[in-house]
């Protein structure tokens, strides 16, 4: 029996701790999708909870046509997207920690500062992206989710996802080169 099937059947049989295990396993994915689309932390937290409560109610409808990960991601994506349609302001950036301030006190101060600087530039550039592009880049790089899986989550054709990723990374490269060059 696959791990997905085992977990789903345990939750449906209401085995103690099974649903908590499912939440623990997929809360990172759900948080990444929701926090990338909806920037208001309280709203995003609430939507993550709503996602898992809906999963709990609708898990019996899961037919193993896709991976459990893709199905759960799809629920999170749908909920976050609907929230964005109702509250477009939720996509606006929130205050974030400055990467330069997060830089550790390593031995090589210059290299640490350079790393912190590029991190800060990339972070600021990603923060300025439209919600969909922000989420796609995050899922592809941070969560290492493949293009077909992202397609299953979002319902977008793989070609569209590839196009978004390509253009977004090209734009991020341009910003990075411009800023690093300007600071040099």
């Amino acid at each position: 029996m696959s791990a997905d099937r085992e977990l789903v059947e345990a939750v449906l049989a209401r085995r103690t701790g099974a649903f908590e295990r499912l939440v623990r396993e997929y809360q990172g994915l759900v948080a990444h999708i929701v926090f990338r689309l909806v920037r208001h932390a309280d709203d995003a937290n609430e939507l993550c909870q709503e996602t898992f409560l809906r999963i709990h109610r609708q898990l019996h409808q899961f037919r193993y046509a896709s991976s459990l990960k893709a199905w759960i991601g799809r629920v999170a994506y749908t909920i976050a997207l609907r929230h964005l349609e109702r509250h477009p302001a939720s996509a606006e950036p929130v205050e974030s920690e400055d990467a330069l301030e997060r830089a550790g006190s390593g031995e090589d101060i210059e290299s640490t500062l350079a790393t912190a600087e590029s991190a800060a530039i990339v972070r600021a550039a990603v923060d300025g992206l439209p919600p969909l592009q922000r989420m796609l880049v995050s899922l592809y790089h941070l969560d290492e989710i493949s293009i077909p899986e992202i397609s299953a989550i979002t319902g977008l054709p793989p070609g569209t996802i590839k196009s978004h990723l390509f253009r977004t990374r090209r734009e991020l490269r341009r910003v990075l080169e411009e800023r690093m060059g300007a600071d040099a």
């Binding site: 898992f52 991190a119 990603v126 790089h141 054709p157």
Partner: protein
Amino acid sequence: MSNGRRFDADDEREWEAQERARVAERSGAALADDDDATATYRLLARELSAMKLPDLPAGFAEAVARRAAINAVEPALAPFERVLVAMLVVAFVAAAGIGVAAFGLATPIVEALCEATSNRWMLALALCLAACAMTAPFRVPARR
């Protein structure tokens, strides 16, 4: 590309550079043709994969599992249906009150009810039905 925005040869080469940089960064391998563009993409891949996102609060999984368990035993009625049921109960009680106020307790229905519940078996049946109806919202619905 299947989305109508065609990639030209330059785009395809740049996509390949982006992907080579991403894969190399993930595996930690050195790149043979580490030109400026690929080097920048590699730095970008490093920063993107290291980006931190806000964490969910500690104990999130336990809290959600608890809420889900509570929701599972809550009445299956939607809020609108609950309001309708409540209104119906209020209407019945009000109608009964008006009936008693207008005609007193000596009505054929009340007499029939008193007669029926004076039979122990009928009373037991009525109590069973009432208990069934009252506990229905707390029973776990069958799945699949």
